[in-house]
Amino acid sequence: MKLGKKEAALRRRFHQKISEFVIESLLFTAALVSVLLTVAIAGILIKESIPFFEHVSLKEFLTEREWTPMFDQARFGILPLVSGTLLTALIALMVAIPLGTIAAIYLSEFVSPPTREIFKPCLELLSAVPTVVYGYFALLFVTPILRNFFPEIGFNVLSAGLVIGVMIIPYVSSLSEDAMRAVPNDLREGSYAMGATRIETAIKVVFPAALSGITSAYILGISRAIGETMVVAIAAGMQPNLTWNPLEPSETITAFIVQVSMGDLPHGSIGYQSIYVAGLTLLIITMVFNVIGFVLRRFFREAY
């Protein structure tokens, strides 16, 4: 009788051990999915890009000044798309970095915590708006306003860039604010004790101390600006154009992918491969900025 009880208890423990192991394996598998996802993204982009470079030399790809993969006389120079992407991102960052930083400094250094609880959601609303709605806004609200200043513009990079800039303010401000709030209070108090005002403390003490985290915020902003698709696809005109003039229409890498995907695309054609090459280029550009960010973050890191 006694033995039976013990045996039952042992058996129960054994079953439990097994089910614990099974569950841990399941959870681990779930975590593995996110790694597999990255591998899948990089893998498929590279796999579909390889046949493209059997048609087109890397030299032509990097130096040719026209991108017309869907024409009979196809040209495959990525430069116009890269210039369009960088120009849009540059305009967006000229809006998002100053405004995002100011908002972050204000929320972190000037506002009391209860007020912050009210103000922060206002900022977060900006990231809640779907990008395609921002695209509508850029084309049918911002462009007509710009037309007051530049009467002859149609589709243009400027309106798309400005709208993307506003859109990514919360990405920049939220991480920057976190970084600044993580700066220990001793530093602020030391600065106040020396007679510095809040703004002096914010700019000369807190900002430099938080620079490592703020760099991450800027890099995330850059990644968002480069990868943004719908606003440029709607408002910037979808014409590959090697120009630095923001009043002209242009096309970004992302908008090109959308443009090609809108048509019927035979699997394995050069057009099909070209969107993967474009995607790979986009991923590489994003990665380059993230590596730069990683290095800068190391460089600016301060330990307390």
Binding site: L45, V132, L139, S223
Partner: protein
């Protein structure tokens, strides 16, 4: 003495200016959302009617509606939630409660951070190559739901981890000292206590997925859809059908994009009306999330 006073005044002035500047920046961002909403509503609201919700898209702008779009959005969101919630919560639980401190765990963590910075359109390219062609799912509701689910996965993971981390260690110790196993602790204590935070994260994730357009265009969703997916319930046993998973679809943001890309003014009105519906949905979801976060933060005192 006077020099000092001047200096103090000057400093006070600059400080005041900074306060004003900060406030204006916040006001500006709020104003953008308001103007955007007003501009959409002004054009779009008069177009909203029962017919608009119950009609299929059409060549004639006045007859066109968003029936297939909102049904499609609903179906795709269902698949997205079913994909992102289990995967995201399981990953979050694993990383917070189970993962050993080794290089592989660090790799998974770094990877999740990086995924958040990957442009959404590359998810679409991945889905086109793998789901559409390798697996042969075609441009279906299943493909779209999986794509968006994977896209918003990091949001769910981060939300789960943050709310698990907020639970004090003592709860875990108390549970385990009473003989509960790790899984029993997770199932009966940690996940229920963090469900508020997880729910907030899930709503934010879905509100992002609902407005996401680019990856869906990439998988070939930009087509004229004037039919509904198969119903999920049927008259014959087993009464539940999964036929709808493999149906072609359209969603609200794609319908909006379709209409805004046309030159005719009348279609722009339709686009605005769709925008009002879409924006109201996402803003509502975000408002719910903000409210929930606020409530759960206040309600729980350890």
């Amino acid at each position: 003495m006077q020099d000092f006073q001047k200096l103090i005044q000057k400093k006070k002035f600059w400080n005041g200016l900074a306060v004003v500047l900060g406030f204006i920046t916040l006001l500006f961002s709020l104003l953008v959302v308001l103007v955007l909403f007003y501009d959409l509503a002004k054009t779009g609201v008069p177009r909203l009617s029962t017919d608009f919700f119950l009609n299929f898209p059409s060549r004639f702008p006045a007859k066109a509606g968003i029936l297939s779009a909102w049904v499609g959005t609903l179906a795709v969101m269902g698949v997205t939630a079913l994909c992102a919630i289990p995967l995201g919560v399981a990953t979050g639980v694993y990383l917070e409660e189970y993962a050993p401190q080794n290089w592989f765990t660090i790799l998974i963590e770094l990877n999740i951070v990086n995924l958040a910075a990957v442009p959404s359109i590359t998810f679409g390219l991945m889905a086109l190559g793998i789901f559409v062609y390798e697996f042969g799912f075609g441009n279906s509701i299943l493909t779209a739901g999986l794509t968006l689910g994977l896209l918003v996965l990091p949001i769910v993971i981060v939300a789960t981890r943050e709310s698990l981390r907020a639970i004090p260690q003592t709860i875990r110790e108390a549970s385990m000292s009473l003989g509960a196993s790790r899984w029993q602790t997770v199932r009966d204590h940690l996940v229920p206590y963090s469900s508020g935070g997880i729910l907030t994260g899930v709503i934010i994730a879905l509100s992002r997925a609902i407005g996401e357009t680019a990856p869906l265009i990439t998988i070939g969703a930009l087509t004229f859809i004037a039919f509904l997916p198969h119903p999920p319930f049927i008259a014959d046993p087993p009464f539940i059908s999964f036929q709808w998973l493999s149906d072609a679809f359209t969603v609200l943001p794609i319908q909006l994009f379709n209409w805004v890309s046309r030159p005719q003014e009348e279609f722009h009105v339709n686009a605005a009306a769709t925008g009002v519906v879409l924006l109201s949905l996402t803003l509502l979801m975000n408002a719910v999330a903000i409210y929930l976060r606020y409530r759960f933060r206040r309600g729980i005192k350890w």
